[in-house]
Point group: C2
Chain length 400, copies 2
Amino acid sequence: MPKLNENYLKLENNYLFAEIAHRTAAYSEAHPDKPLIRLGIGDVTKPLSDIVVKALHDAVDDMASAESFHGYGPEQGYEATRKAIAGYYERNGVSVDADDIFISDGAKSDTGNITDMFGHDNVILIPDPVYPVYVDSNTMCGNQITYISANAENDFLPLPNHDQHVDLIYICSPNNPTGACYNKEQLKEWVDYALENEAVILFDSAYEAFISDPELPRSIYAIEGAKKCAIEFCSLSKTAGFTGTRCGYTVVPKELVFKASTGEEMSIHNMWNRRQSTKYNGTAYIIQKAAEVVFSEEGINECNQNIEYYKKNAKLIADTMTELGIRFYGGHHSPYIWFECPNGMDAWECFDYLLNEIQVVGTPGAGFGENGKNFFRLTSFGNYENTVEAMKRFKSLFAK
Amino acid sequence: MPKLNENYLKLENNYLFAEIAHRTAAYSEAHPDKPLIRLGIGDVTKPLSDIVVKALHDAVDDMASAESFHGYGPEQGYEATRKAIAGYYERNGVSVDADDIFISDGAKSDTGNITDMFGHDNVILIPDPVYPVYVDSNTMCGNQITYISANAENDFLPLPNHDQHVDLIYICSPNNPTGACYNKEQLKEWVDYALENEAVILFDSAYEAFISDPELPRSIYAIEGAKKCAIEFCSLSKTAGFTGTRCGYTVVPKELVFKASTGEEMSIHNMWNRRQSTKYNGTAYIIQKAAEVVFSEEGINECNQNIEYYKKNAKLIADTMTELGIRFYGGHHSPYIWFECPNGMDAWECFDYLLNEIQVVGTPGAGFGENGKNFFRLTSFGNYENTVEAMKRFKSLFAK
């Protein structure tokens, strides 16, 4: 009988979205006359931009004739796509070598698979609350996790504890679920700490396109020294509405070289290349052609129109919270608004209260970790009219 | 300093295709007047079928308007695509539950990632010669490999050794690189052995579309009892020319339940679902819509026109080998022809000889394992005219 991977027995069942669906369905069945406004889901709703649609059609046509047909592509991704991404970094003031970029089918795959690179006895620092993939992917391979508390006291932006040594550090900024975004000084503190400790930062920048303030870093590589200590994961999911089109990229700098127990030098860049060449066969040609266009100046300008739409929703929610005196995070450089449940409710009480009283569906922060137990996440991915209506109802419910 | 995954130090460098490229480039530089015929590559060359191209364009249009836009899809794949695949199985006489099918971006990802399901002290049986992913993915997670010899004596179709217990068995039929294809009785012997030993068969059927004889099994599930002991990996790469379009599927039957060391039951289906939900975010909507059409009756008929084209090439190569009295395998139910190097040459001598004498580039069998050291792989994915010319040159070179 095969021995199975018993680490899977240690995974916690993630009931969050199932429980939301269950309670929501029960309410709708009992109150068919009361339509719901859904501001819970972290998924885009606007269609792909025209320039992207055109690139997709053109690439499909390429596949329709023998002369322009594309079979297996390079596992790391087409050079033109990698160069377009490097150009996007450059326009944002950050220098990244196109050779260090790996195109994938999304940041979830890469943030999940990156555990393949590491041994099993590292000290792994993960914030609470957190995007569950970091926790589950480490649990699946039997790793121990050390949590760092993100909370109202540190504005959900925890900083390193210099008395503690760690080997791997997960950072997501702008953060999912809290919307909190590190500034340059704070990220520099993390990079300096990582360099001192010879730790590796796993930096998830999937929401960088929501950053408005040019002073806020959109990439860990905006910080000096980061190429010696950080891997960056990013995605077109939010940047270009690719949640259903599937494309992401990961930067693994060649500078990331560490010593094995044998004294031999190991390059994480080379290891990741070998992993992807063995367990991945490249992102579809059609999708990469679209990604290439996304990162052109014209493409980014078009895609930003959707981002601006979502940011208008985010601002509306944030302004409402401010007006109501509800403490919140995010909303400015993020599609997420993370607010403290009013009137001492816990997250699930707040969920039921909003559902029953004003038919607004959000996400209880408890689903993201212990520190979310009194917080609630709303997203700006709904349509504007619904968001306006939801906020009107918030005001009538919570106005003093 | 992070502990890296030192199993990567045990990986053998795969110089095969780099060495082929190197020797080929050197020859071309020295003989610019002698164009090469490339029959080495395992990649399709015919464009996508019209019906697939139309489905891709339609799906791109869906993504262009808010009403038909698709964001995150189900991690397991859209039900319509899974049902289309189940229907394809059914038309081939095999019953597979659409709920047991997981859509992916290709068989390489799934055959590589499946190691995540298992512990590290299994006896893992892998044939030699072999598709390198099975070996490398197990080496990457520190697993020991037991090789089973595929050779001319067993027609490159080894059968179980009933005196030996194993836990996991990799089988690829029709085989890459040898083209050999198991018949029903032989596969039944493997399934019976697996059931007796409570072993799991990891069955790679990526080349099933090349099987012409209705008596030869195109799926492990054509054998009774296989759902209790086998996972099947398949791909649209060869079936529909999707090497650059990226879609595959894996069948993980719910019957695959084994006991953990704690006595607790563990379902591989549920584990794989959890893995894919954590480390994968579904295959692109556009690609899945195309896959759905591939597996319609009309789609398969259109795609089969390309398969027939490649099979005509394969038959031409096989007939030439027969005429020349060169012992070979495959060619009938496979795009690959695996022949014994003539005149006592080893695989690399044969490579140089064919390159220098008749400018035909193939793949030395030595790159697939010890048992390939005197064999050579040609593929039928070239164009017909080139294949005709290559075989003409073979005849002039090897005719007695």
